[in-house]
Symmetry: D2
C-alpha cells in the first residue's frame, strides 16, 4: 500500500473490523483523537528552537514518525466514515489557496504571509 | 496526483516554492500549524452528538473537507521537511499497533479499549 | 493562594525561577505547551459518551484534575509573560459575549447556538 | 470578581443559565471547546519567532487577551461541571511538580529540562 490513500484506508478498515472498534469511530470521536495525536506530535517540538532533524535527534525522529502515522490513520479513518475523498479534497483546497494567496502578491513577505494566513 | 502521498508532497513543494514560504516551514512551525488545523476541524463537531454527515449538513461537510485537506497538506509538508516517508511510517505503526492491541484481547470491549488506548 | 489568579501567578514565578526555566518560556512556547496540555485533557474524554464524573471514574477524575491544573498554570504563566491581566480579560470578554449572544435571541436553541458559535 | 476563580465560575454560571446552554456543557464538549480555544490562541503565534509583545503588535495582543479569556472561561466551566476545585488542583499539582523536578537537578539545563518534560 504505502503511499496510496485508498490503500491506507483499506488497511485501517481491516484493523478496525478485526477489533470491532467501528462503534467508537464517530466522526466527532475521530476528530477528538486526531487533535490529540496532533498535540502529541507538537509536544516533541514545544521547547525546541525550530525542530530540525539534528535538534530532534534520531530517537525523537522515530517517535515523531509514529505520531505522524497516528495523525494520518485517524484522518484517513475520519474521511472514510464521512465518505470524503481526501485526495480530491486536497486538489480542491490547493486550487482555492492558489486563488487566495496569489504568488506575486505574497512572495517571501513574512508580514503579508501573516496577514493573509491570519484571515 | 490525487491519492498518492508523494504526488501531494510534490504539489505542495511547488505551491510553497512559488511563494517563497519555505523559510517559515520549520518542523516546529508546521507542527503548530497542523495542530491548529486539527482544532479547526474539531470546532465543527464540538457541540454535536456524534457528527455524522446528516447531523453536520452539506454546507458543513464542505468546510470539514477543506479542513481535512489542510491537515493533510501540513502533515505531508512536515514529513517532507523531516525527510520522513509517511506511507512507510503508517505500515510500521500499524504493525506495532497489531502487536499492542491483539484482536482477540480487545475485540468490541469498550472498557478494554479505553484501558488500552489510555496507556 | 488557592483561588486568586495573582497568587497563582506568583507561585508559578517562584517555581520557574528556582529552576531557571524562564529562558524556555517565550509566549510561543507557552502557547504550544498549553495546547498540548489541553489535548492531554481531551484525551481522557475522546472515547466517552459525555464524560460525566460517573463515566470517568474516580481514578480518571484525579488525572483530569491534574491536567486542568497544568492548563491553568501555563495560561497564567503566558499572561504573566505578556503582561496581561487574566481576570480583567475575562470581564471584558464576557461583556463582548453578552452583546454577541443576547439571551433572548439564543436561549436554549441548539441550532442558533451552533450558528452563532460557529461564526 | 476579576481575579478570584470562584467569582469567575459564578459569573459564567449566570451567563450560561440566562441562555439555557447548560444542556450543551457536558465535560466532553467543554474539553473539545477548550482545546479549540487553546489552538486559536496558538494560531496567533504559529509563524512568529517567539511571540513577545513587540513581535505580536498591539492589535494581536488584544485578540490574544480574548482567546486567553475564552480558555479560562471553558476551563472554569469544566471544573464547575466536574465539581473540581481548580485552585486546590493547582496547589496539589505544583507540589507534585516540585517533587518530580527538583530544582537542584534540573536548574537551567535545557537538555535535562527536555528529558524531564518529555517523560
Amino acid at each position: 500500500m504505502s503511499n496510496d490513500l485508498h490503500a491506507i484506508r483499506d488497511a485501517v478498515r481491516v484493523f478496525v473490523d478485526e477489533r470491532d472498534w467501528d462503534q467508537f469511530h464517530t466522526p466527532k470521536n475521530l476528530a477528538c483523537a486526531m487533535s490529540v495525536e496532533a498535540a502529541e506530535l507538537l509536544e516533541h517540538f514545544q521547547w525546541l528552537q525550530d525542530g530540525q532533524r539534528d535538534e530532534l535527534g534520531e530517537a525523537k525522529v522515530e517517535q515523531v514518525r509514529h505520531e505522524m502515522a497516528d495523525v494520518l490513520v485517524y484522518l484517513v479513518r475520519m474521511a472514510d466514515k464521512l465518505d470524503i475523498d481526501l485526495g480530491a479534497a486536497v486538489v480542491e483546497k490547493m486550487a482555492l489557496n492558489r486563488a487566495k494567496y496569489p504568488a506575486e502578491l505574497v512572495r517571501g513577505d513574512a508580514r503579508k504571509y501573516h496577514e493573509y494566513k491570519d484571515k
